[in-house]
Symmetry: C2
Subunit: 435 residues, 2 copies
């Protein structure tokens, strides 16, 4: 099906950035291929709702092939990319290679354990659907274990959840776990009072939601504490043990530890042999090109881009990735159509705001110079997230599930699939194998 | 919470039979516990729709705890039962034991490979949600593999699906796979014509749907062939190989083999030390008691019960299990309330009919002396299945998904979770580990 006359464009990654880049090239005379190691795009901002059994994995994901099916210049391949050869212009994946004239690297990021990768089995993070179903399994099993545990200390450990990192994911996860324990489960257990479940949110920095204005961090802490989450800022994790976690020399006994503390770029960044920042992200040029390789763009969580006048690189959020994807696609289009040297337009990021949910009816949001809190912010959050969901059909299903959840505190996705047979929740080896 | 004065009733299994038995004891002065190795009840008749990406696992399952939450005399435990000691009246599970005054054994069945258990990794069956998501993964990966396979023979193997066993599950699975290939996927692939996917339904007996009247078997074959399924009756599987399957010395090259040929009762039947039939089912007495153990009942797929005047034991279907569960619950109730020896009421099965779906708008059904085929039977099937779904909320979601699927041939649950990273689909070792 490949036409050798047409330029080959390869996009690595079917996340927000990769899809946006592909769509920008729709109807254009190129041979385009999107490579991803999963068959589906995930709406990552709602992953925590899968982890906390509000939504099913299907509701926030869609086959990449299905999203791009009407874009006839675009091929999709399930492929785990191993390395990039920028000189020979070849991408190597398990089972084959793909030559490119232009390349967009949008392979995203994974959790960063800051040199303690051995903590991952005990303190998994939340980046993929597999992560989310694993977290869901652990959260649900914790209550099952506690229900039939006779030792009081062990029972308390089973009912203690520590979330490391108080960015939006950590805050949302902590709030949702406390809500399951407090609203969804109480009537279903006979031997335990699920409302006594302890949720501790640990943050190394001085405040939660550090990318938000100060006043919203203060409000978020107030709202979190009101629903019963213990917030501990300025606390560093020094060890993750068999029975809990060591925070500033204080040991918290906890069976359930979840990691939302930091991410590092995909190791693919290294094979580009370009300068990277402390999180492994490629320090891209002003137009998102990889230094020294004018035909290669790095975008999204893989790119370190500091706007003029700013001291901080842009954060790893969906809207940055989408806007970068569009920019890269646009530059490739004009490079090809001008048949000359590629133009060099500076990437300009337009911040449309940030928001984080704290619990039922509570959120914080910042849009331009306006700040919102409480119920109104929550409505705003729900509206924006529904609007951005990729597929019309998923949108209806999510709205329906949210309505049920809001009206009845129901969480229909409370199903443990896979390793649920065992009575304990030490599935570390199996979990590690799955990655 | 246990009151030693009240009789202990233990139910092993939260399937149709176990739930029915538990509900029959609602409001009654007993200490009841339901043990299951999964946290959820599954609506098994719709499992094939999860395997073929029409429904999400959440849509056909519900936490057992949630189903029984208002029944205050009932406790639920996630427990893998290892053995039963009928003399000492104790059930032993991973991590503990449960003493009983009355016991209902409803642990169901697994696939039967007729002495070739080594075939399971290559030819998995469909009994649990984990099975269903594994089948879905294999079906979806098959098309991904074919899309990028250059060798014509290998590509044809990837696009060949063999289903062994033409009972309702086999027939429904074969029809649904052909429909995915023919209606859902064609527009999404660039290099393959998914409508050429080959679906072969192999049956050892002389006809498909052998539990149905002859004329419906004939009609089912006609409908299956009309949508493109190859039906081969009177063919025995002699081997499952690396590259395909040997059927009556004829080798069919196929990457995808699914097993719907037979089941055998849970091995728990053996620890009852009672007579079993050729499928390992306990040959129960006329009132469902286990011979020699008047306080133990075996029901559902674990019971071999031949009604008076019949030569065949009742089939392993939902309505048999439900009616048996109610009967066992009723007998336990009257045994306790009479404070004397347990009464001995004969179990009488009322057959409400059987049905099987062949494809969009096609089904066969038999209700009493009436037979139905085609569109009307399909509507009947959909109505009955919706009516029997355990939870109101799931019902609405299933209806919605079916409407989408019917109107747009959409299958929203097409998401590969877990081992989706690899490009091949030989995940046998991993699959086996998961069981």
């Amino acid at each position: 099906m490949r036409d050798t006359d047409r330029p080959n464009v390869v996009i690595i990654g079917g996340g927000f950035g990769g899809i946006a880049a592909a769509q920008e090239l729709a109807g254009f005379d190129v041979d385009l291929v999107v490579l991803d190691r999963e068959n589906h795009h995930v709406f990552q901002p709602l992953l925590y709702q899968v982890a906390t059994a509000s939504l099913s994995p299907q509701s926030i994901s869609k086959p990449i092939r299905s999203i791009l099916r009407d874009q006839m210049n675009c091929d999709v391949a399930l492929a785990n990319v191993r390395s990039i050869d920028p000189e020979r212009r070849v991408v190597e994946y398990d089972g084959g290679t793909a030559a490119f004239d232009y390349l967009v690297v949008a392979a995203g990021a994974r959790h960063d354990y800051f040199g303690h990768d051995d903590w991952e089995a005990r303190a998994p993070g939340l980046k993929s659907l597999a992560d989310a179903t694993e977290l869901r399994r652990r959260i649900l099993l914790a209550f099952e274990t506690a229900e039939h545990e006779r030792d009081e200390g062990a029972r308390r450990g089973a009912l203690t959840f520590v979330i490391v990192g108080a960015g939006p994911t950590g805050v949302e996860l902590a709030g949702a776990i406390k809500e399951i324990a407090g609203r969804t489960l109480p009537r279903e257990y006979r031997n335990i009072d699920t409302t006594t479940a302890r949720v501790v949110l640990v943050e190394g920095g001085p405040r939660v939601l550090s990318s938000f204005p100060d006043e919203l961090s203060v409000r978020a802490v107030r709202d979190l504490e009101r629903i019963g989450v213990e917030v501990r800022t300025g606390m560093s994790v020094t060890d993750v043990t068999e029975t809990g976690i060591l925070v500033n020399d204080d040991h918290i006994e906890a069976d359930n530890i979840f990691w939302a503390a930091g991410v590092k770029a995909s190791p693919l960044a290294e094979s580009l042999r370009a300068p990277v920042d402390d999180r492994g992200r490629v320090i891209v040029e002003h137009d998102l090109r990889v230094p020294g390789h004018p035909r290669i763009f790095a975008i999204g969580d893989m790119a370190s881009f500091t706007p003029a006048g700013s001291t901080q690189p842009l954060p790893g959020v969906a809207q940055v990735a989408i806007q970068m994807g569009r920019h890269a696609g646009m530059l490739i289009r004009s490079a090809i159509s001008s048949s000359e040297h590629a133009p060099s337009t500076t990437f300009v990021y337009r911040d449309r705001g940030s928001m984080a949910v704290i619990g039922k009816n509570r959120a914080v949001a910042v849009i331009g110079s306006s700040r919102f809190t409480g119920f109104f912010a929550w409505i705003l959050w729900a509206t924006v997230h529904i609007a951005f969901l990729v597929s019309f059909r998923n949108r209806v299903r999510v709205l329906y599930d949210w309505a049920m959840s809001w009206l009845f505190n129901a969480r229909d996705a409370r199903v443990i699939i896979g390793e649920g047979e065992r009575h304990d929740n030490n599935a570390d080896a199996t979990t590690a194998d799955r990655r």
